[in-house]
Amino acid sequence: MLKKIIALTWKDLKIFFKDRGGVVLIFVQPFMFILIISYALSGVFSAGDHPIQILVVNQDTGTQAATLLDQLKDMKAFSVETSWEGHVLTLQKVERLIIEGKRTFALIFPPNFTEALEQDLGIREHLTTKVLLIVDPNTTNQIVEPVLVTIQGLLERAAYRAMMPKGVEDLFTHLGDPTSTTKSGSLRPRLEETRSRGLMEKRTPAVTMERIAPTGMHVKKLPDIYQQNVPGYTIYGIFWIVNLLAVSVLREKREGTFRRLLVAPMSRVVMLIGKWMPYYLINIVQIVIMIGVSSLLFKMSLGHSPGGLLIVSLAAAATATGLGVLVAALARTEAQIGGLTVLLLLTLSVLGGCFIPRFIMPEWLRAVGLATPHAWALDAYQDLLVRGYNFWEVLPKVGVLLAFAVIFFGIGVWRFRFE
């Protein structure tokens, strides 16, 4: 029995290794995936090398904001930018940078930040002010929350340091009793502690932080987890049509029906279009189901441009199926199709930001990501679902997707072996 198993094993190994293309792909593909994921996540696991970049507009007329920023700069996880291309940042500039996707976070200190922190809380109705944290609404909460918490913590520390000494001095002044040095030495820290707790729990704190989206985006409320994640996984899912389409072409060649079609009165381009079309339709249905079900099950908002969603979907499907034609043209065996599909899909999905937000990747990898249709499709969907853009605003990205589709299909037709 063992000999027969060995004979069967050896036979299949021989067959497998005869397919050199398939062999290369099966071993290259996981390696490529490891490489790209490692690079993509390098910013997360070595924060000092790829800190989260935060744009800062410091409008504070005092010194408290500057002190806080110094503390923020000391943290290796963050990179504070107060200027851009030699010019001091303004509110309009930071919003533009976020809209353009060049940055994700911006911190705005109001002019009265120091005044609010250092005010005398007991004497008059106190001043309140807000520090704004402008965030690209597409940024997942898993990324935003740590930033929010960190900055909130720094604000509270700043508030404590600014308010406490003056508060305690006021207390002793009102008491009017030159308390002995010994008593004041033990009383002061306890009072400070009590007072500070009172500050933290005040219902209307002097300084609060508010997270908002850039003015140019029409976000009525912050996106939920589904709006942030469904587009990425949808795009990842629809590109699996590449495998189906390529295998179908290969099967048609193997079953001999391809030869029969070549003899029929129709051009080869018509033949390829006829082969491409059913998978394009399948892709559209796939997108409708994925987004539709997400909308129904998870109450995911579909933005306010159904026309925009439609045209992005049509363009994304054209790109995915165009890539399928290209793979069908290049691959000769099922092993090659499988290996090439997995290699392409995983690589493009990771680089395009379907699994990991692109903004946490190193700058160079973000640039590489723009060479993937996934990045453009994902961005377009997020523009509609998360950033509240309308039909016209996504057209440039639709144009890029269609360009990808034309290139993939064109190369596929050019390289297709009909004989």
Partner: protein, 313 residues
């Protein structure tokens, strides 16, 4: 006299350095069954693939139904039907769906399409299996459906590439009857095979092909008659047969005599009577006959005579 529907002059096809088709000329008449007979690898499928516009030749002129092959391939394709050697069907679709699809590809639609599919299924005896997926068919049934797919659009010329390979005798006979029926309806058929009996039964004319060249082209009777009434091969224990040749040629019923590969090759007008005379001659010369082979006048013999090897070698 029928006119020719296919004219081929100087056809050449190369695969790298290998010349698969080497300057082939042929003319196929309307309404005839034209056979291409030769062993595997002779070039039959290559020729038929070129004529079916599947392959592009490297050289040569081809005219099909008056259309120039290279320039007017679009006009040629609706006129031809192609039945490849490999089955070319969608196994998960039914027979009906397969034929409907191929009919649509050729521009048939509506009631016309439905009628054609019905008729063709009846022609190949598969009407009662129309709704069944092809993968449930026997080999013979698949072959019949394979032919049906090439007929659904009523072509003027049908190319059949070894249509009976690997099927049972009953299905084979069924296919022969279909082909004869199609011929009776006026269809021109180009039939490739390496089975003599198929050519002898079906074909009006035959081209014997080997290594990319046409060795002979004639009716089956005409080809066989080239051998006279048989060919004899005699093996004799002589260093050279040359001295014996004049006497052999002088014998009655001997048409030609040559030395070939150490044996005496004799074309006769009557193999048995010629053999008797040869034995008498050898006895008179005190020469033993080491081996004797007699080729009856068949296409197999013709092939052997032309190529020096058997069709199934």
């Amino acid at each position: 006299m029928s006119s020719s529907v296919i004219e081929v002059k100087g056809l050449v096809k190369r695969y790298g350095d290998r010349v698969a088709i080497n300057s082939v000329d042929l003319s196929i008449l309307e309404g005839e069954i034209f056979g291409l007979l030769g062993p595997n690898g002779a070039g039959k499928t290559t020729i038929i693939s070129i004529l079916a516009t599947l392959l592009v030749p490297d050289d040569g002129e081809i005219t099909i139904c008056g259309y120039r092959f290279r320039e007017e391939a679009k006009s040629v394709r609706p006129l031809i039907g192609f039945v490849p050697q490999e089955l070319a069907l969608y196994p998960t679709l039914s027979a009906w769906d397969n034929l409907t699809f191929f009919g649509r590809v050729y521009g048939l639609q509506g009631s016309n399409l439905k009628e054609r599919v019905t008729n063709v299924l009846a022609l190949v005896g598969l009407s009662n299996r129309a709704a069944d997926p092809v993968q449930t068919f026997s080999g013979g049934m698949k072959r019949r459906l394979n032919i049906a797919a090439g007929l659904v659009h009523q072509p003027r010329i049908l190319f059949l590439d070894e249509p009976t390979v690997g099927i049972d005798p009953q299905s084979r006979n069924f296919i022969f009857e279909h082909v004869e029926r199609l011929k009776a309806e006026g269809m021109t058929i180009v039939y490739t095979t390496h089975y003599m009996e198929e050519v002898e039964r079906l074909c009006d004319r035959v081209a014997i092909i080997d290594q990319g060249r046409i060795l002979a082209l004639d009716t089956t009777i005409g080809l066989v008659n080239r051998l006279g009434a048989g060919v004899l091969y005699l093996g004799l224990p002589l260093v050279s047969l040359e001295p014996l040749l004049p006497d052999v040629r002088a014998l009655s019923h001997v048409l030609t005599a040559i030395e070939e590969k150490g044996r005496l090759k004799i074309e006769t007008s009557n193999a048995r009577l010629a053999l008797l005379k040869l034995i008498e001659l050898c006895n008179a010369r005190n020469v033993s006959i080491l081996s004797l082979e007699m080729l009856e006048p068949t296409l197999e013999s013709v092939f052997l005579h032309l190529t020096g090897k058997r069709l199934r070698d």
